[in-house]
Amino acid sequence: MNGVPLVLGGVLTLLVIATLISEGLPRWKGTAPKTELAQRVRAWWVMAGLFVLALLLDRRVSIAFVMLLSYLALKEYLSLIPQRRADRRVLLWVYLTIPLQYLWVYTGRYGMFIIFVPVYVFLFLPFRLMLTGVTPHFLRASATLHWGLMLTVFALGHLAYLLVLPPLHPAGGVGLLLYVVIVTQLNDVAQYVTGKAFGRRRIVPQVSPGKTWEGFLGGLGVTLAVSLLIAPLLTPLHLWEAATLGLLLPAVGFVGDVTLSAVKRDLGVKDASSLIPGHGGILDRVDSLTFTAPVFFHFIYYFVYGPVRG
């Protein structure tokens, strides 16, 4: 059964409940609404609306949407990191990676998709940087530019490749993409909410003081339940696979979240930008996803598609 409409109905219900809490409750009690919470929930409506629209319209639109996410995330990253003035034009080559990588996705060239950024861009970029003739901070430039591409183009690009995998379930690639995005984002929210309510023991106080074991376990519990519930509706995953991912993805998402926190601390910023009201920038919203997308992709590519490929 194609469970996409059912799951989208569930997402809509969650958004309505969240809005009743953020906007309805203060109005009913006659107290001032908490602006940050209301802002966050409103931004969720916009983000979910755009994502679902792009997903339902057409596969090309869906791929273009993920490509736009890569572009915005990369632009945010390149605007934040220390750079050399001499490398200004090299950045155009860095951006050129995006259309090429998504061309491999669109045409289903898995081999190119998987080696282009880690191998060819990895070799080309330092060559082009060398041509500037400027050697101070050469290694810093090579490393930071490539790291940003791995994160925002290669890792996030896995979301788009889910769309071109041969369908093994009526929900198809849309189902796979919806599954990993819902599980990752819901885990973020559940972790945040349980952490706010019960959080006491900090996991990495020097990097992300808000992250607690209580929040992590709360997120894990919710995510495991949601994974078991929606996996049969959206994916060809067996029960044990849905359970494994329900435990694995929260851990991986957490790692992505705190890793990006370490990067932001290094750069001396709290948020990557102020594009999304109440959330920060694109990078702040997709931090967990940059880690869960490739892990989820290669999990199903090995366990689900491996036996099919033979």
Binding site: S79, P82, Q83, R84, R88, L267
Partner: protein
């Protein structure tokens, strides 16, 4: 030499459509904007908006932030010698930019501020880059005294500082290839007037510097 005749844009709707339909989407997608205090931009003149100058695109960026109904009244001050070079440039600067052409030849007998004064008397909003030049990217040059003279002639007109950051990296002087990078803008409140011209100029510079300090920084070497 004849004084540059001030010609107002003939089709204000074309200008509004250009900024709403072309410039703003291009800036949002091609660069990305983080704007603080946009509501502080004046919607009616007379007013003087002063900004730091980093790039050719500064004027387009600033104009794209005004409300469409205010746009018809906004006149960026521009160098007459540069913007009258070719008929096309003259048409673009008149119709799309709404430029107010200023004669910047020193030692002329005419009053170079006269077109600005006339514009303020017509209740227009003037955009000024008091550095006079783009200079070093993202380094503020000392302000020219013209702003202080103009302000003294119009003691009741608000002078609103706007700090810009990003275009000095995305499209600095001497470069023609823009690179997508986030642009940041902070609009301030009118600078309180002072009797002394030098002191007022210093106050505007200080207001702009403190606005710039609020903006996210670029760490380029």
């Amino acid at each position: 030499m004849t004084a540059p005749a001030d010609v107002r844009p003939r089709w204000p709707a074309l200008r509004a459509a250009f900024f709403l339909g072309v410039v703003r989407p291009a800036l949002l997608l091609g660069f990305g904007l983080g704007v603080r205090g946009r509501e502080r931009l004046p919607v009616r003149g007379p007013a003087i908006v002063v900004a730091n100058h980093n790039s050719h695109l500064d004027t387009l960026l600033l104009l794209s932030l005004f409300a469409p109904r205010a746009l018809a009244w906004v006149r960026p001050a521009a160098a007459a010698d540069y913007f009258s070079r070719t008929p096309l440039l003259a048409w673009v600067s008149r119709e799309l930019i709404g430029a107010l052409l200023i004669d910047r030849q020193p030692g002329g007998r005419r009053d170079p501020l006269a077109p600005l004064s006339a514009s303020l008397e017509r209740q227009e909003i003037i955009l000024l880059f008091p550095e006079g030049t783009r200079g070093q990217p993202e380094v503020r040059e000392a302000f020219k005294a013209g702003l202080a003279h103009l302000a003294r002639r119009h003691p009741d007109v608000p002078v609103i500082p706007v700090a810009l950051r990003g275009l000095g990296y995305a499209l600095p002087k001497g470069e023609w290839l823009p690179v997508p990078l986030n642009l940041y803008v902070a609009v301030g409140t009118p600078v309180p007037r002072q009797a002394d011209k030098a002191a007022f100029l210093a106050a505007v510079e200080a207001a702009l510097d403190s606005l710039e300090a609020e903006l996210p920084t670029y760490r380029w070497d």
